[in-house]
Symmetry: C2
Subunit: 422 residues, 2 copies
């Protein structure tokens, strides 16, 4: 409460001399129509499909200790509560962000009536805050005497929270991209400090005779690699975007794959520390998946809210955190295959070698309602150039399917390489 009359965003005008009649909060709220209801059907189908395979693995396929199972289930219950809370909060937060003029117009619908609707922006902030609340509350339910657990957990929370803060600041203030690039690397530091795992890589067995070593300790170089991984994850989700539901959709697919990977690793191992590392990952990814699904129900085509950099940074950092502290960063990178490809395609433009426009979106034809690939170097455009014009919804589904295929490929690779690689 400072000595200032706060300027309402809606009443403020660039010219100070001619004051507008003040709009009260009520009239502002009335002029902003409520957002469309969530797409419950889509979410229900997604949840059903995923839950069956996930809980089959958890309860039937593997013998997992009661204690661990109990913690996972408490976390799952909290996550379900988080899903409903997020779904409830998004329309409320939408009114607040619209009041502050945080909105955008959907470029992929330009020329149609939908292209003139103000879509509230940065709704990732709701997901981020609910996630943090869940993650903090969960600490009470995980009675691990191991203080190392708390070090890593709090370092993870600090990194994720800092990333959400920077994402939201970016959404509100439009930070220059050089600063953007710098900040995730700083936000990742608490994480690297808390990383107590190995800094070694295992030389694939066929190469041992050439290298002369079975295990190579990379020391600081390994920590640098992890820092770069965090920077890569946050930015790669942010640049593989531009279609309704793509940012959240890719997160949902990767998070689901991570959860299944974790359960499989817990089930297949007998090392308590290894299990704990994967359980740690579950405790953070379940809330991420649940809150993301709630956001997806509003962000799916046609989007009634936009997610903002807040969401992409948050989701990327959370997955980087679990990959690093769960000690499976190589697997994570294979789950991120489409993002790696998109990054490589983007490199000439991002590095400034080729001219980089403000948006690198496909061309939308309002008459046919189809998107055509441009020559900008993104996976979205590349895919469109291969398969020909597509509607936004169908293109997003295709790309998510590609993402899911990538994850399946990773599972297969792990299955076939087991024994050969490690």
């Amino acid at each position: 409460m400072a000595a200032r009359k706060r300027a309402s965003a809606t009443t403020a005008t660039p010219t100070e001399t001619k004051p507008n009649p003040p709009l009260t909060q009520e009239t502002t709220t009335q002029t902003d129509p409520p957002i469309s209801p969530p797409k419950k059907g889509l979410i229900f189908k997604l949840c059903l499909f995923f839950s069956i395979s996930y809980f089959y693995l958890l309860f039937q396929r593997y013998k997992i200790e009661q204690d661990l199972k109990r913690s996972i289930l408490i976390n799952a219950a909290l996550s379900v509560a988080g899903f409903f809370l997020t779904q409830r909060m998004i329309p409320v937060a939408s009114r607040y962000v619209l009041k502050r003029n945080l909105f955008g117009f959907d470029i992929n619908k330009k020329g149609t009536p939908q292209g003139t609707v103000k879509v509230p922006e940065s709704l990732g902030i709701v997901v981020g805050i609910v996630f943090l609340v869940l993650a903090i509350l969960f600490q009470y339910f995980n009675f691990t005497a191991d203080s190392n657990w708390l070090v890593e957990y709090n370092a993870a929370l600090a990194s994720i929270c800092f990333m959400i803060l920077l994402g939201f600041v970016d959404d509100v203030l439009d930070v220059p991209w050089r600063v953007k690039l710098l900040l995730p690397s700083i936000a990742a530091l608490p994480l690297l400090m808390a990383y107590a795992g190995h800094t070694t890589i295992i030389i694939p067995k066929p190469l041992v005779s050439f290298v002369g070593l079975e295990v190579l300790d990379l020391g600081c170089v390994y920590k640098l690699y992890m820092g770069l991984l965090a920077v890569f994850c946050t930015n790669s989700i942010n640049i593989h975007a531009g279609l309704n539901g793509l940012e959240v959709g890719q997160t949902v697919v990767i998070a689901s794959a991570i959860l299944i990977h974790n359960i499989m690793q817990i089930g297949a191992s007998s090392d308590p520390e290894y299990k704990q590392a994967h359980a740690f990952s579950i405790y953070l990814v379940q809330p991420l998946l649940a809150t993301s699904l709630a956001l997806l129900s509003y962000n799916w085509y046609p989007s009634s809210v936009f997610v903002g950099d807040t969401y992409t940074y948050f989701a990327g950092m959370t997955m980087a955190v679990v990959g690093i502290l769960g000690h499976y960063s190589e697997t994570l990178l294979i789950f991120f295959l489409p993002q790696v490809l998109n990054f490589l395609l983007s490199l000439p433009q991002l590095s400034g070698y080729v001219k980089c426009p403000r948006h690198r979106l496909p061309r939308f034809n309002p008459e046919t309602g189809l998107l055509t690939g441009t020559h900008d170097g993104t996976l979205v455009n590349f895919y469109l150039r291969i398969v020909g014009p597509k509607s936004e919804k169908s293109l997003c589904l295709h790309l998510l399917f590609v993402q899911a295929l990538g994850c399946c490929f990773c599972f297969m690779l792990r299955y076939f390489l087991a024994g050969w690689y490690k």
Copy 2:
């Protein structure tokens, strides 16, 4: 990067049908005049006065181990760098927040030309982010093998970061006060989880015969008290406000007192754990003090920037964190005496028993330039009713002097009660 054309705050109008000619970024920047330069003289005098006594205690008065002294000095050097970085970033950030219509008008200057100037709001975000970066980087320089240190440090970072995030969200979106009250208690949870200290209180010696115990273990009640302390600190700095420089000024005074208290405790003790707890507190308070001083140089009368709830929440939470994890919460509460008084005076209005207006500021007379106390229950008004009308600058100085007197009273109390109380 989402599929949206971001709405520029300056071009957006409530009526969609009549589009304004778009203002480019350049013209917007030109219409916002640069903020006044920082008041370097004031800061220099403050720093000189404080540094002499602080470094005298650190180097001369007490024998402190080289290792500890080295860590404190590295932290101090980082803090000085943080001071200059913050001072450099504030004008840059001011342009960004003005572009987003995050500004206010100074109510205490209403009726004068200064009252019509757009003052950029929420500059606490710069202080918060620089603080986090310093606190994260410092981890590299504190080579304590004790993993408990990292648990507490990361829990502190998580709590402070969450509080900055919520403060900034509040500044941007104007969150309802019921939500505001709830969130600091959740942000404080990582802190309480990491608190590994005692949950006992020592019964003052003269009362031991009545109570029948020398030490009383409060268990959960003690943790509840600490949680409430965090809620109190964040909100009490936020409501003891309304004058240029008061929010930052009170933080500077309390932070200085905390630092001196820490050095005295380290110097007087021989228990390594006790020293470590107070060193921990120094590592977080030095950056707080340095970055706050940089903000004060712009926020001092006449303010060229406002600090926002971001700053008050951040400063309050940081001090609560160090009080709790440094195990000197009772002393902290005495440093907060004016805030306690302000809270008690505010209670009838905050609880809704007496009508509570949006602002509870003194009445400003544009002809005399003086402030007169109203009947609203705040310390600012109460003080004005006692001493009569005052100018804003002189009133702020008086109140900060009262704050400093409170801190001196605390030092005296500790000195005289030593041996009697504990």
